[in-house]
Subunit: 135 residues, 2 copies
DNA sequence: TGCTAGATTGACCTTAACGTCAACGTTTAA
DNA sequence: TTAAACGTTGACGTTAAGGTCAATCTAGCA
């Protein structure tokens, strides 16, 4: 059976679960993207699922093409409810921006995917011809 | 009416059409990713649609997350028919690899897209409540 | 013929996002 | 209680992917 997932963990465990290195996590902390839930008197950083989720969100935003700095300026809006109508409108604006970037990127990947499939089919055809032609 | 697109062009034009800078094109050339169709006696590089297509393919592979070096080692297989059955099988292997990377990336974007939509809906709800609650 | 915009090479510079290493402290299972 | 595994800070290194600048040359239109 698998090891139970602890409710609280140190940097190494968090790193393993998010598939990054501890160095990356510290780096994100320096940039203000992610801080440990708690800091023991030993100096050790302790994290929870919250931070894991945040780390994964950072990954998504990176995949979207944002720099860590850009991520730093928007990541909170994924984890704190906006205050006031203005705040909500601002958040909406940014989320909609991310949405349209995501869609654009997805569509371009879909195009590539179609091209790849055609390409593959073509080479498969060539291969079949070659194999039936000269056995 | 729009300017007609020339059958042959210099680096600036190619750059504009591919939405990159001339520097980028020269950089790709240094790395062996893209060479001009022709080189005038003046030293000017001249390109055609072929190179534009290639440049766009490089962009797709970049979006997929490949480094320029990795791209350099596979780009040709998008533009030259493989020789021999072995060659074809090899190409198929690589194309299938790209396909599964593309699909994985697309699926992760789709997840993010769904999350974004939920998030947007949530904030919209909050906003509506706030506006009807305290006008 | 003479401008102006664009091209050439070469060299050095920049930036983001970590990697690596040293010197040292902490945890924890044996 | 000690050894192995893990964590800490600090500092420096690396790599990819171009940016920038200078000095010089070319194209092509008025």
């Amino acid at each position: 059976m698998d090891a139970a997932e602890p409710e609280v963990m140190r940097i190494g465990e968090l790193a393993r679960r998010a598939e990054v290195t501890p160095r990356t996590i510290r780096h994100y902390e320096e940039l203000g993207l992610l801080s440990p839930g708690e800091r023991a008197s030993s100096g050790y950083r302790y994290y929870t699922e919250r931070e894991l989720a945040r780390l994964n969100k950072i990954g998504q935003l990176k995949d979207l093409g944002l720099t860590l700095e850009e991520i730093g300026s928007v990541i909170d809006l994924y984890f704190t409810d906006p205050t006031g109508a203005q705040g909500k409108r601002k958040v909406l604006q940014i989320l909609r921006g991310h949405l349209s970037q995501t869609q654009a990127r997805r569509e371009s990947l879909e195009r590539f995917e179609r091209e790849l499939k055609e390409n593959i089919a073509k080479v498969e055809r060539l291969l079949a011809e070659a194999e039936s032609g000269q056995p």
